[in-house]
Structures are given as C-alpha cells and as structure tokens.
Amino acid sequence: MMRGKTENAAAARLDESPVAPGGLLLEADGIEIGFTLRGRHLSAVRRASLTLRAGETLAVVGESGSGKSVLAKSFLGMLDRNGRVEAGSILYRGADLARFSAEKDWLRIRGRRIAMVFQDPMTALNPLKTVGAQIAEAAILHRAADKRAARDIALEMLERVGMTEPARRYAQYPHEFSGGMRQRAVIAAAIACGPEILVCDEPTTALDVTIQAQILGLIKNLQRDLGMSVLFITHDLGVVARMADRIAVMYAGQVVEEGLAREIFYDARHPYTWALLASLPQLGLKGEELFAIRGTPPSLFKEIKGDAFAPRNPMALEVDFEFEPPFFQVSPTHRAKTWLLDPRAPRLEEPETVRRLRAKFPQGSIQGGTR
C-alpha cells in the first residue's frame, strides 16, 4: 500500500480546540512501519493501532524489538532515514502525522506538541554544551523567547524537575551531573516547550532503582501539574503498574492486547500478556525457577504466518500457525488479539502464576487504571 505525498499541505494546520480530559487526542490506526536494511526489508510495526486520550498515561509494553519504540518515534517523525510509515494513519488534532514528510510540518509537532524523553540520560545530552543551554534551546524555539527569557524558562524548568541551585546547574556540563540529574535535565528540556504529549521511552531503564522511583514520581507530578498525556514505553511491568492508566501490549510489531491497567493485570487474555506477567520477579516462589518465556521473537525480515507468538506459546492452537487472529473485544475498554477468545477455542486456564499475581496484588494495589 503506497501512499501519495500530495495532500500534505493541509497537514500542517492543526486543530487548536481544547480536548477535554479523557477525550481522544491521538489515534494511530493500522500503522505499518518498514525499514530497509542493506537491501532487505524489515517490518518493524505491523498494522498496529493505538489511541491516546487527553491527560492519561498509556504504557506500551513488550520485549525489546517488539516495535514499541519505533511506533512511538513515528509520532514525532523520528524514524531513522531508512525507515518509513508504509500504511495507516496517525490522527492528531485533525492532521494525519503519517502523511507528514516535510521537516517544516514536523517542526510544529516536535517538542512543542509531542516531546520525548530518551532511555539513556547519559547520552541524551550534548556533552559539549551546558545543560542550561540545551534546555533554553527548546524554549527559544517554541516559545519564541529571547535568550534572557529562555534562560529564565530554563531555570524555572530546572527547578520544576527538582534541581537544587538551578543557576549553578544551568552553567554545568552534562558530565558533571549524575544519571538521575541528567534525566531530570532531559525531562526539563522536554517539557520546556510545554508539550501536550510526553513520550517517555524507557526513561528509567538505565537508572538505579532508587533513582527510578524519583524519576517516575517526577513524571507523574509533572503530568498532573501540566495536564500532559504521557505515552510510556517500557518492558518493566513493575513500572507500568505504578504509572499506567491504560496498557497496550506489543509483540512482534503488533499491539496484541490493550486495556485499562487493571484489566490487563487482573484479566489478561492474551497468552503473551500472561507470559509477561508471569515473568514478574515479584511472583517468583522460593525454590522455584523463575518463569521465562521460552524461545526468541520472530525475525521481522520474514513474513509472519498466523499468530507471531505461536511458536513460543505452549498453549498455542493449531490455528495460530495458520491464521492471524483478529481482535476480540473483552470489554468496551479491553480487547485482545488471540484465537483463544474465539468461541470455537477450548477454554484454557490462565497460568498459575497469573492467578498468583491476583492473589499477591489485590485489586486497587495497581495505581493506575482507576478511571
């Protein structure tokens, strides 16, 4: 499915009307993203759909290589040069981001509408520029501020992300910061232009556990204070449990299950989601080997037949190897892409570990998903 590049003129005009909390803000539908790697085609995202509502935190979870980062990057037009959105639409405020190609269009989105926080704060800041300058840079761009005003904004942002002595910190270089401080600085730079959506791409993976909690808390507070929507990409279900209102589970370039946080944690339907939940270390029993998903994810260079998870799924049905399952709606907010929900399928029990989860973390202990 090739798309023309002709209708882009309208794309740059964004609908400025306010979106009420819980209203639909961004809607990605049937996204296919492909990369050309040394002459070979790789389908990183395969017909993935996702919605993000105003003011919510949506967590996208999945193993590395499941396409979650790629999908998020496509919202900012930040795919690598050899990759492109091949099909689908990303509707945001009346514009289809999937059709953006000119840098001019993206400059209206990046930073000022959708900002992104990277995984590794050690490398996300330019080592040769002061932290302050890198925050102010964003402010100058999006708030049309002069240098003095930008500095004030940057100082305010530094304070906002909990930095003591912001004036001194402003003039320091990234290598003078600890990892946690750097991530705060990155966040400060990301929010300096007041975005509507903050994409956090595994923002705590590279940090110490103690720092992780601080950063997560910071993001949560900022979201509340600034009324942002947060798209949280992670493979850490523990983090998800703390942060997410809703969860989308991705596997091999597809969203396989999507629902409110509590629905996913307590009523997961997809075997892959089960497997993910079962891998939570918190669920391990003394003397019992920790659960691990067996096998490796499929190569995305090849066409995948049937359910991509089938070869690794001990509960796979014959049909999984032949046909790709459709989405089955579990509740109005919950759907899963597995043949197990087909009426013809045998009733299979969810695994023991998942039940154990329910017992260990009773309803309500999952912070998100109260809505």
């Binding site: 040394r38 002459g39 490796t296 690794r312 001990p314 509960m315 796979a316 045998p346």
Partner: protein, 308 residues
C-alpha cells in the same frame, strides 16, 4: 474470514522448543555476515574483482609470457615508439623496452613489495601488539618506544635507512616496516587490553588457561578483520612510498622494474612521451585505488555494527 476456519484447527498444538528458539533467525556467523555485508556493495565487489584480476594478471603475465621487461632494442628506431605502432599495446620506452611487459612486471614487483611489507607490518605488529597488550610489565617500555619512534618524522627514517642501506627491495621493506609495525602493534594492544579485561577472559584465566592460548583463541580472532584491512591499506601505502623514494633517488635500482621506477622514468619524459607515464600510472592507480576501497569496505563490513 475467521468464520471459514476449520474448527478442527482450534485444537492445542504441540510445543516445539526448537522452533521457538529458531524464531525465524538464521544462526549468526561473524564471517558470513561480514561476507554478506561486503557483497552488498556493488562497488566493492567490482573493485574486488578488478583487484583480483590485476593481481592475478600481474603475477601470471610475467610468469607465463616469458617477456623480458628489460629487453633492450639495439635498433634505435625502436626507441620511444608510441603505443600500437608495432610496439605492443603500451609502446616502448627510451631503450625500446616493451612498456606492456614493463608495466606488468612493475606491478608484480610493487605488489610483491606491498605484500611483503604488509606481511611483516601486520605479522610483527600483531605479535608485538598482542604481547604488549597482555604483558603489563613491558607496557611502559613499549609505550615509551612508541612515543620515541612516532616522534621521528617518518620521512627521516625512510630516507635515512634507504641511504644507509643499499637501495633495494629489502631495504625498502626494512625502511617501511621499521615504523609501520609499531602503529599496528599499538592498535592491537589497545584492542587486546579491551578484550583482555572482558569477563569471559578473566574467567578463562581463572580457570588456568595459559595466556598464549587466551591470546590465540579469544583475542586474535577479534583482530582478524583489523588485520586484513591494515594489510589491504598497506599495499597502496607502500607502493606510494616506493614512488616517493624513487623520486628522491633512493628507490629500487633502476634496472629493477617496479611501478615506482616506471613512474619516475615516465615523469622525466612526460612532456615528450606522455604514454610512458600514463600507462604505468593508470595501472598503479587502479591497483592502489582498488586496494584502498576494498580495504575500507572490508573494514566497514567487518564491523559488527554494520551487520544485519
């Protein structure tokens, strides 16, 4: 669509652990990936073929044709004949010698020179570098030696040695290798130190594996790609150095047919008989450029970061 699916298919399938593990990936092989990545570049492949052809012809022609590149024509009419005029495809030089034969003999000499230098540079550099990297005790000494040697301008060494020793094949080899091996050794040393302290090697050492074995088994394979690239790049460098030495009168003896000598002889007559410079130069450039590009492309290809 889903309605048409055979209900029988909704039966549990047997779990195949091997299939799960396969995941659709071919098993990764460093060399296969390197090879495949390299073959992806059409330019590199073309030049590799050209390079192979040039090298093969440079060695085959002198061996098979029996043509004597130093065969002098006593008939002065046969001197300085332009290409084609009954004088071989490249014409003849100021003594009626066949430029075609001379060019290929010259290419062989220069390639041989390059190969030998590459062999010594890389061989010596590797061994010294591996020892240097592994034996902490000599590190200080070697580092000082490296500092001293790299502080002597290369031309000084080149000229000095070429002058003290008699001009000749081995003199140039010695002159070029005397400094060349050290930079490779340094490179290898840095690599070795990185790998040496890698955990699996520390583990291996703890298990009592002798250092020699660790170097040979665990360290050197990592260096092979570096080595091949260095070797490939040494060829154009040493050919260039031979031309330079010829220019200042310290190259190979002039009755030795080499590309450097052909270039320097051709240069003297360039305004009069441009072909005497043009042909050897073209072959020389073809060799150096193809080695240079192939070497670089190989370096790219051997970098695991570029592997799919």
């Amino acid at each position: 669509m889903s309605d048409r699916i055979e209900p029988a298919l909704f039966a549990p399938a047997a779990f195949d652990a091997a299939a799960a593990e396969r995941g659709g990936y071919e098993s990764y092989s460093y060399w296969r990936s390197t090879f495949r990545t390299f073959m992806k570049s059409r330019l590199a492949v073309t030049l590799l073929l050209a390079m192979t052809a040039l090298v093969a012809f440079s060695f085959a022609y002198p061996a098979l044709s029996g043509a004597d590149p130093n065969a002098v024509a006593l008939d002065t009419e046969r001197w300085n004949l332009r290409p084609g005029s009954g004088s071989g495809p490249f014409g003849t030089d100021g003594l009626g010698r066949d430029m075609w034969a001379r060019t290929w003999h010259g290419a062989r000499t220069s390639l041989l020179l390059g190969f030998v230098i590459a062999l010594f540079d890389v061989g010596l550099g590797m061994i010294a570098g591996a020892i240097w990297g592994y034996a902490r005790r000599i590190d200080r000494f070697m580092t000082e030696l490296y500092n001293v040697v790299t502080n002597i301008p290369q031309t000084v060494v080149l000229i000095l040695l070429s002058y003290i020793l008699r001009p000749g094949f081995w003199t140039i080899v010695i002159a070029l290798c005397s400094t060349g091996w050290l930079s490779i050794a340094r490179f290898v040393r840095n690599k070795v130190i990185t790998i040496r302290d890698a955990e699996y090697n520390i583990a291996s050492r703890c298990l009592g594996t002798p250092p020699g074995r660790i170097i040979g088994r665990n360290v050197l394979p990592y260096l092979v790609s570096v080595i091949i690239m260095e070797a490939a790049l040494t060829i154009p460098y040493s050919i260039g150095a031979e031309v330079f030495l010829g220019f200042i009168g310290l190259g190979l003896p002039l009755d030795t047919v080499s590309l450097g000598n052909l270039v320097n002889l051709g240069k003297a007559n360039f305004m009069l008989y441009p072909y005497q410079l043009a042909w050897p130069t073209s072959i020389l450039a073809a060799i150096t450029v193809s080695f240079y590009i192939v070497g670089n492309k190989f370096a790219d290809a051997s970098d695991p970061r570029n592997h799919v």
